[in-house]
Symmetry: C2
Subunit: 236 residues, 2 copies
């Protein structure tokens, strides 16, 4: 019955007694937030999947209360869809949504990368190179979940250096929106014919070339979404 768990994050906290409140500030909410975000970004939550308050709460060992807040939070980022009857589900992809996400990513992410470039040094380039190596392994081994986690880590390792307070949250919202759909694509097409422009991006960082970095990010987005996306969508 499509039980798609949120992951092994449940951590039942067997020490805490009943009636005990506040291990510390907003811990339960933070735990739920991290769990759901991770599940969305790595594709463990499939578009159309129903997300229930009590279900998530029980799975994570918390009361429905922090789950409610997290769901509202993610719904505000359009990462979850609250239907008119109140039921919550992972949004389904549509061609128009996909085109718009692609457009928004191409507008924002190259800009974010350029903003980050001055703060990126050779140590960061080294870390990115290691992540990219792991990405190659995930592709060849066909581990889609691991690929998505690492691809996200690669991009946001760059973006985080921008110290952006505005563009960054917008881009995070976009990733939450397209990630679940991309997972279904990988499940159908596989990860074998995935090509990325990460090595070009690393080269641009090493040579401190903003134009080349921007171009590499844009090309990576276009290849990642363009090739794998369009022909995998429901008609029109």
């Amino acid at each position: 019955m499509n039980k798609t768990s949120v992951g092994n994050v449940q951590a039942p906290r067997p020490d805490e007694q009943e009636g005990a409140t506040s291990p510390n500030r907003g811990a339960a909410r933070a735990q739920v937030d991290a769990a759901v975000r991770s599940a969305l970004l790595t594709g463990r939550f499939i578009p159309g999947k129903a997300v229930t308050l009590r279900g998530l709460a029980q799975e994570l060992g918390v009361s429905p209360m922090p789950v409610r807040e997290v769901i509202q939070r993610l719904a505000a980022e359009n990462a979850l869809n609250v239907r008119q009857n109140g039921r919550v589900q992972v949004p389904e992809m549509s061609p128009s949504r996909f085109d718009e996400i692609l457009k928004a990513r191409l507008l924002l992410e190259p800009e974010l990368a350029e903003m980050a470039l001055p703060q990126l040094d050779h140590t960061d380039a080294k870390v990115l190179e290691e992540i990219d190596l792991e990405i190659d392994e995930s592709i060849s081994s066909g581990n889609a979940e691991s690929y998505m986690r690492l691809n996200h880590a690669f991009h946001f390792k760059i973006y985080a250096s921008s110290n952006s307070e505005i563009l960054m949250p917008l881009v995070e919202s976009l990733w939450l929106q397209f990630a679940p759909f991309m997972r279904t694509v990988y499940g159908r097409v596989g990860t074998a014919n995935l090509v990325d422009w990460h090595k070009e991006a690393i080269r641009a960082i090493r040579s401190d070339d903003p134009t080349a970095l921007s171009a590499a990010i844009a090309a990576d987005i276009r290849d990642g979404m363009g090739i794998l996306g369009r022909e995998s969508l429901p008609e029109s």
Copy 2:
């Protein structure tokens, strides 16, 4: 004691009896959401203002519960700031935040306007012209709150025609973030020397000229934020 009310939206619903639940689906939450969004967009919530659960709840005649969800929702859009101690406040503006918001608006809003153009007809142009006339009145009468409400209505009358599911929510988040600050600017500088490119935008819509519309929107953003913003910020 800076009581800045959320507005005359409280509507105590004197008919409902105590213990009565669900007038209909999510009515309380929708009411709170609309009230707070409106208060932010028209500058009735000033940067730094403390927003308390029970305070808002009592003011709007609801329980703290729907307020909690709305606050989480707006915090996810960076329209409210939840500090480490849990206290909630309207975010303060900083030069870097301001620059980024300007950059993001220039990236997204002209694009949104271009997307909307094919769906805009002469009836829409007429409505926009009427709004712009009211805007002129608000400027000359110095009614900053009315100006902000109408300026928002003008822009989103255009953007709404784009039928955008992705870019539109991102832009809404941006407006929620800069509106409270702009209100403080108007309070200091006044609205007299405000100039807008709305008439050029309307002309571009009438002549179905995407380039001209995009340019008018960009110029409007630049003039609205560039002239009034930078020199009104705390140092560096």
